[in-house]
């Protein structure tokens, strides 16, 4: 990464973090993190559970004081100017931080008043945001009756009341089903369209790829890699092709055939007998074409061919040389896009 000015992070930097550290007893939650988020962009912070993502967000939203290092958000120092800083940020946490006993409208109105809007403006802003996040019909119901996705949308709406310059999304889709996750992603994209700078923490490569333009990978409180998503993906090794023959008996012969073909730079295919499929890591479109060609030329019936994004585990393995430190949940790696056979 090139920086215009190493001290301030440059003119267009909305969030600047230098040498940020936070220890809990002997545990180093953050161990000298540097980070720059350019104005109007989405920075993804990718890391496993316990990597320090939430600690970073809590420091940047003044909920936690750092032990060492500096951080500024929209020019305000997290330690010296917490009140001014709080005025320009929005926070959507891992757990929906809305008052569940209160109706959606009341939640938004309350936050408007706490942000010093007049009664009339707070009312108008609550109506407007409920409309925008498709919650108008549920406006008068307590948030406890909302679905997971509605609650998360209300949470996003609450974060937007003060028209923040910088929005923190701390694992915004953890625990949501795939459909709801897509809804949240669409909302986030719309907000970015409005010019908000976003710092997004996530455990999912797919989420980072969908929303972020740049990525910082952190592990055990340290930045292990950073840069534009495309650069990182190239380093990680792109995608995997998953082939599922109709007859599982074909799995091993198919793998052996791909090995013998000798496609340049192609890694060994991995057989998954439980799933009845075969995963072939592909680094380029040429490799992908060659593999699909070889498989179809064999003339066996194929139930499906899909491409997969690398999972967080794979990203870690290739960027750090070791597996992500904390156990991952059982969600399968990335989405599967159908490939025309």
């Amino acid at each position: 990464m090139t920086r215009m000015d190493d001290e301030s992070g440059g003119a267009g930097s909305a969030v600047t973090v230098r040498g940020l550290a936070k220890h809990y007893g002997g545990t180093r939650a953050l161990d000298g993190v540097d980070l720059d988020v350019r104005e109007g962009t989405v920075m993804g912070v990718l890391g496993p559970n316990g990597a320090g993502k939430t600690t970073l967000v809590r420091i940047l939203s003044t909920l936690l004081a750092p032990d060492a290092g500096r951080a500024t958000v929209a020019g305000y120092d997290v330690v010296r100017q917490p009140r001014q800083l709080r005025r320009v940020i929005g926070l959507t946490g891992q757990y929906a931080s809305v008052d569940e006993k209160l109706p959606g409208w009341e939640n938004l109105y309350m936050i408007g008043r706490l942000l010093d809007l007049s009664r009339r403006d707070a009312r108008a802003r609550a109506d407007e945001l409920l409309e925008r996040f498709s919650l108008t019909e549920a406006a008068r119901r307590p948030a406890s009756t909302y679905s997971g996705g509605m609650r998360r949308r209300l949470d996003l709406a609450a974060s937007m009341i003060g028209r923040p310059a910088v929005l923190y999304l701390d694992e915004p889709t953890t625990g949501l089903d795939p459909r709801t996750r897509n809804e949240v992603w669409d909302e986030v994209k719309a907000m970015v369209g409005d010019g908000v700078t976003v710092l997004l923490t996530t455990q999912y490569m797919e989420e980072a790829e969908r929303l972020a333009s740049e990525l910082t990978v952190i592990d055990r409180g340290r930045v292990v890699a950073g840069g534009r998503i495309e650069e990182l993906k190239a380093r990680v090794g792109g995608r995997a092709l998953r082939v599922r023959p109709a007859d599982p008996a074909e799995l091993r012969p198919l793998a052996a055939m791909l090995d013998e073909l000798g496609i340049t730079g192609l890694a060994t295919a991995a057989v998954d007998p439980v799933d009845g499929s075969l995963a072939v890591p592909v680094l380029s479109d040429e490799q992908l074409t060659a593999v699909v060609g070889a498989v179809t030329a064999r003339g066996i019936t194929i139930a499906s061919i899909t491409t997969e994004l690398p999972s967080l585990d794979e990203v870690f393995l290739s960027l750090t040389g070791h597996r992500a430190s904390a156990p991952q949940d059982a969600r399968p790696a990335g989405t599967r896009e159908e490939v025309a056979v």
Binding site: L63, Q84, L91, G93, Y95, E100, K101, I111, R113, L114
Partner: protein, 272 residues
């Protein structure tokens, strides 16, 4: 709060004006009132407690303690009702701590703390709502009191008593707010509260005159703020000397607030 302002770390941060403080507190009070509307059962305690306690004490102990006081049940009603008022100001203060630790276990407190509001506003709003609940309980108590034969001889005295109870209660609420911030869950707050409240309530002049108690206990009851509050209430409502007990009660309130309010705010500010 002055520590924050004089600290060089906050020099460049503007102060929150009093008007803004009031606006923030108002918004948070509204939130707590909406909770009550959502969940009317949460008012059961303030509705039932004065009824149950008054009936129990007047009809179970009223005859015998009244005799000891040189009268009958009516004599005891005149004695115990001002004491009840004192007791409620303490018992109901507990609620402020339990609701608070529930708040902390949800993410909403993070939201509040990431907003540009004075952190004391959240605490002050809690106290304001809890005082409102207490006034409601007081009204219920007075209705029951009149039904069991209490003579409100002195209306200004009654109002003064209510005011003094509110002052004392808000000082006790700071104690429970501190517990609410420090302790992990609502159950711990309740258990701790019970351990503190029970000896204070019964080791006082609330339910029975302390003159038959052993000497060591009388020392305790003499200085117990619940005794001084109950004695002041009696003096104000049914006549008698008040000055000494009134000053004691005000002194206790001031001392409790001076010690616990800064602790509560500090713990709240730094809680992660």
């Amino acid at each position: 709060m002055s520590a924050t302002v004089t600290s060089p770390d906050h020099r460049s941060d503007p102060r929150i004006t009093l008007r803004a403080h009031l606006r923030h507190t108002g918004a948070l009070v509204r939130r707590n009132l909406l909770w009550i509307r959502q969940d009317p059962e949460s008012m059961f305690d303030v509705l039932l407690m004065p009824v149950v306690f008054t009936l129990l004490f007047v009809y179970v102990f009223g005859g015998s303690i009244g005799q000891a006081l040189g009268g009958g049940q009516h004599r005891y009603v005149q004695y115990v009702i001002p004491g009840m008022l004192a007791m409620m100001s303490m018992t109901l203060s507990q609620g402020v701590g339990t609701g608070f630790s529930q708040d902390f276990n949800s993410g909403v407190m993070d939201r509040f703390r990431s907003l540009p509001i004075g952190r004391g506003s959240v605490l002050v709003a809690k106290i304001a709502v809890e005082l409102g609940r207490m006034l409601f309980a007081t009204a219920v108590l007075m209705v029951v009191a009149v039904l069991v034969g209490f003579d409100i001889g002195n209306w200004p005295g009654l109002l003064a008593t209510v005011g003094l109870s509110a002052v004392f209660a808000s000082s006790v609420m700071w104690v429970f707010l501190t517990l609410g911030v420090v302790l992990k869950n609502a159950q711990s707050v309740q258990a701790m509260g019970f351990l503190v409240l029970f000896p204070l309530q019964f080791g006082s002049s609330i339910f029975a005159p302390p003159n038959s108690m052993p000497g060591w206990l009388r020392h305790f009851t003499d200085y117990n703020p619940l005794s001084t509050l109950a004695n002041t209430a009696r003096g104000l409502m049914t006549g008698g000397p008040v000055a000494h007990d009134l000053w004691m009660t005000l002194g206790w309130s001031a001392a409790i607030t001076a010690v616990t309010a800064p602790v509560a705010i500090h713990k709240f500010r730094t809680k992660t």
